[in-house]
């Protein structure tokens, strides 16, 4: 417990110090990294913990984006309210998806969520009277200043709160139920776990955070197109981040997101090749180290902890 707190404090200190160390362009990268971290961790909770391998996360983020953007533009809703509304809208859609996929597993669930995402994307593109489709929707910025610093702290706080909530959830009995569902749904049910309720819970919470990220994205970037946020390859990027960092931990998702995002900017001169590298990394890690790059490190830390415990017990 103490070690956990220590890591959190260090992370917070590093997080707060970043704007002092990075200037405009790289601060933007950091903001995007945290944005992706929020998405990746919400996906990890849904897939790595609860076993629901959904491809709808980006579409839900997009729903959050467009809801927030349109509320601000058409109804002049204060943007904070808009972002929360976007998150709630995403959560609602997540609820719908959860109910629809209750009886689906594995590839069927994957296919359905892919289909769903595409449907959302196509609809947003087609209804261009509302959404301006591919031409781009101009969204009011969250802050009047051109400095990126307030945006950075916004996403940092959003991420921190989300991780806190998800972390507490996953450490509680609900996390236990999620994992049991992923391990063996039928056996979990035979052990009394209400799989309907908890699958829905996982979807709704994960969708809320995805929508939250989307809402932030809209008012940070200022322009919205369906393809910029919702295309399947971008979902692939989020999945890659989660897998590379370690699919079974929130910290892994965050680490993976930060790693991949910074690397991909750093390697920008390689242009398209950097995505090739990530694709390759994703596939190789899946193949040879299913639990991500960071897992061996966790294992060593955990082993040390067990050693320390047994020593103190002796």
């Amino acid at each position: 417990m103490r070690r956990y707190l220590l890591t959190v404090i260090v992370a917070v200190m590093v997080g707060v110090a970043i704007p002092l160390l990075l200037r405009a362009y790289w601060l933007h990268v950091a903001i995007m990294a945290l944005f992706y971290a929020l998405l990746a961790s919400s996906w990890t909770m849904l897939a790595g913990f609860a076993g629901q391998f959904s491809f709808a996360t980006m579409a839900l983020a997009g729903i959050g984006s467009y809801t927030s953007a349109l509320l601000a533009i058409k109804f002049h809703l204060p943007m904070w309210l808009g972002i929360i509304s976007g998150a709630l809208m995403a959560a609602l859609v997540g609820l719908l998806i959860a109910v629809l996929v209750l009886r689906m597993s594995g590839p069927y669930l994957a296919l359905f969520t892919i289909a769903f995402s595409e449907l959302v994307r196509i609809t947003l593109n087609a209804e261009y009277q509302f959404t301006r489709g591919d031409m781009g929707l101009t969204v009011p910025h969250l802050y009047a200043t051109i400095s990126k610093v307030p945006y950075y702290f916004t996403i940092l706080i959003l991420l921190a709160c989300s991780l806190l909530i998800m972390g507490l959830l996953l450490r509680s009995r609900y996390g236990l139920f999620f994992r049991a569902i992923r391990e063996h749904e039928e056996a979990a049910s035979a052990m009394g776990v209400n799989i309907v309720r908890y699958k829905i819970m996982a979807f709704v919470i994960s969708s809320f955070f995805a929508g939250l990220a989307g809402g932030f994205f809209a008012h940070y970037v200022g322009t919205l197109t369906p393809n910029s946020i919702m295309e399947i390859p971008r979902m692939g990027l989020v999945i890659a981040m989660s897998v590379i960092g370690g699919i079974e931990s929130l910290a892994g998702a965050v680490a993976g997101a930060i790693l991949v995002e910074f690397l991909q900017e750093y390697l920008r001169e390689l242009e398209m090749w950097r995505f090739v590298i990530f694709g390759l990394a994703l596939v190789l890690i899946l193949r040879f180290s299913q639990n991500g790059l960071l897992y061996p490190i966790y294992q060593r830390l955990a082993a040390k902890r067990v050693e320390a415990l047994s020593e103190s017990a002796a």
């Binding site: 009995r173 236990l176 139920f177 994992r179 049991a180 391990e183 063996h184 039928e186 056996a187 979990a188 049910s189 035979a190 052990m191 009394g192 776990v193 209400n194 799989i195 309907v196 067990v306």
Partner: protein
């Protein structure tokens, strides 16, 4: 206590269970035997809610349970194990035990610490408490079977259905499991046990149900079963 009436289960063109009817009294230990494919596991699946019957009803303590989801049936007091052990592999033994403890709000309350104590007791009874922090996937096959038993006990059900508890287990462990079942039975629980191991099941139960091709062909004491023509034919015919 448990009444099964005219149970039918069709899978596409195959009828796995055909108009099956039987009752189980409180604190009985009913054995279900029969050749492969006779519908034994399907019957358990139907009672536990993993499968929904095509026709028929199942009544437990006076209430119908055949259309309920399996977690609801587990809550009402019917627990089961699986033919192929289904422990949660990437969770520790202790976590495995805590899932059934926490999933059902117990009437007598009980904090997490209480549950942990109880889990340790049960693990101790099954002689696997030294493994409590071990990942379930690192346990041997026999240890996993014991963990499954432990999980069921954590659930504290009135009816325990065991699907092949002796399968693939070495003789020493078989005797232990035999004893555990006997003790649990003495505590007042009701058992339904599927087994191919005729020796073990004859030793445990006073009443056996024999299924063949989804149909009940005999219902009686071990002696009656052994003498019954149809039973002999069913086993020899396969």
């Amino acid at each position: 206590m448990l009444e099964v009436t005219n149970l039918v289960k069709d899978f596409g063109g195959v009828r796995a269970v055909d108009k099956l009817s039987f009752t189980v009294e409180e604190n009985e230990l009913l054995g279900i035997i029969g050749p492969n494919g006779s519908g034994k596991t399907t019957t358990i699946n139907l009672i536990s809610g993993s499968l929904k019957p095509t026709e028929g009803q199942i009544i437990f303590r006076g209430k119908r349970i055949d259309r309920l989801p399996s977690y609801e049936i587990a809550r009402r007091g019917i627990g089961r194990t699986f033919q192929v052990t289904q422990v949660f592999l990437r969770m520790s033994v202790m976590e495995n035990m805590m899932v059934p403890a926490l999933s059902i709000p117990k009437s007598d309350g009980g904090s997490e610490a209480d549950h942990k104590m109880r889990a340790l007791e049960i693990l101790g009874f099954l002689k696997i408490d030294h493994l409590r922090n071990e990942y379930a996937r690192n346990l041997s096959g026999g240890q996993q079977k014991l963990l499954e038993l432990g999980r069921i006990l954590m659930l504290d059900p009135d009816v325990i259905m065991l699907d092949e508890p002796f399968a693939g287990v070495h003789p020493e462990l078989k005797m232990e499991i035999h004893e555990y079942i006997r003790e649990m039975h003495k505590e007042g629980r009701t058992f339904i046990i599927i087994s191919h191991d005729l020796q073990s099941i004859f030793g445990l139960s006073k009443r056996l149900l024999v299924l063949s091709e989804g149909v009940k062909i005999c219902d009686g004491t071990p002696e009656e079963i052994k003498d019954d023509e149809r039973v002999v034919e069913a086993y020899l015919g396969e």
